[in-house]
Amino acid sequence: MQKQRLGYIMVLCLVSVLGLGPHTPIAFAQNGAMQPGLDDPLDMLDSPAPAYEPSVFEPFNEKMFSFNIWMDEHILRPVARSYAGAVPEPARLGVRRFFHNIGVVPRFANSLFQLKLDGAAREAGRFMINTTIGGLGFFDVAKNKFGLETSEEDFGQTLGKYGVGSGPYLVLPFIGPSTVRDAIGRVADGAMDPKTYFLSTVEVTATDAGTMVTNAVNERSLNLELFESVDRYSLDMYSAVQDFYMQNRERQIAE
């Protein structure tokens, strides 16, 4: 039921399935997110809607969007389907939790940058608990037994929190929807990865590529049906995804 109800939004969210870094809002529907109020004069039924303004990168974005969709149709989805047939769902959910667990450093650091001290403390606690008694993060003991929720913060949100505008919408190859600010944030979050200080650039790139591909296949396998319906139920998939991404990021920054 929950999947059906939130299916449309989740599907939009999952269009960015090729990019599964901190910017992918996997857990977007958690715990009563804040609703925007009534203070936006443009967001009233009686107000004239603003004219459509395409991103300055629109021609590039549309090509990249098509490329990502093609990659998904021809490579990611078939691989994910086979993977889903071979690995049971509980194991795939465990893999998702494992990848989430190892991405603790940017979430911890960005919680601190945004002075969300309880969020930083929760991330530290979650990492310690899940890495030990949670079997390297395959089980979310921190949430299920201790009620510690994750603090989904990234550097794009930190920049937004301190007043940096999103900049034009940008679709990145393999990564999916982003903005100029969030793309910069993604690089900064990558630089927080501890292994960049221990391994060579080639080793880091190879490790990251392997992680990204495995994570992408796993995540896609968990959302095979939802993802497929977006094309059938949206009038214009490109702008639907763009709008969802922009709204969702705005909400995350406001929280």
Binding site: G32, Q35, A254
Partner: protein, 196 residues
């Protein structure tokens, strides 16, 4: 006699204060859909489980104008009516049956209502064992004293804004005819999926 008088006055002059509040309109819509569940739209369904009953609570014509934005006035009356009709069909095929099915066995907590002039936002929390608490915001607009719903926000993401972006993108980059074709295709897809 007094009750009848009050009822008639309330119907004729809802702006005097007898019209339902935003929270009451939201509750009525949810409760209608909840009571219909999977029977919605079936010939055997109770009389309140019809598209028309649901649409009494929705501002579809105003929403159509808002979705089109600056393109609305360029359409002409005939195309405007066509677009309202298409949007209504889209909602009937996609939104109502799914919403009814979901609402049939979901627990709600009604939250506060914010009101500013002719706009209101009523919040409802859905409690789900898997996802936790999900907040649904119902946006309402008051026209001629009657409150009607025109947007649903799932965890802060506005469905109407999302649809507006798609409509205006197609109108700017393609044409009204292309938009109509896409809407018809989406309706057809929903019908096929429902039948399958």
């Amino acid at each position: 006699m007094v009750k009848t008088l009050l009822l008639v006055t309330g119907l004729l002059f809802p702006q005097l204060g007898w019209a339902d509040s935003p929270a009451e309109v939201t509750k009525r819509l949810i409760s209608t859909m909840q009571s219909c569940g999977q029977d919605f739209g079936l010939p055997s369904a109770p009389s309140q489980c019809t598209n028309e009953e649901i649409e009494k609570n929705l501002a579809i014509a105003q929403l159509s104008r808002w979705l089109m934005g600056p393109h609305w006035d360029t359409l002409g009356q005939e195309k405007q009516a066509d677009f309202i009709n298409l949007l209504t069909r889209l909602l009937r095929e996609l939104a109502y049956p799914r919403a009814s099915e979901f609402l049939a066995d979901t627990q709600f907590e009604y939250g506060d209502t914010q009101q500013q002039g002719n706009e209101a936002l009523t919040e409802v929390s859905v409690i789900n064992p898997d996802e936790g608490r999900v907040t649904i915001g119902f946006r309402l607009n008051q026209s001629e004293g009657v409150w009607k719903i025109w947007d649903v926000r799932l965890d802060g993401v506005s469905m109407a804004s999302n649809l507006r972006k798609q409509v205006q993108s197609l109108m700017s980059k393609q044409s009204y005819e292309e938009l109509v074709e896409r809407m018809q295709q989406t309706i057809a897809n929903a019908k096929t999926d429902e039948a399958g």
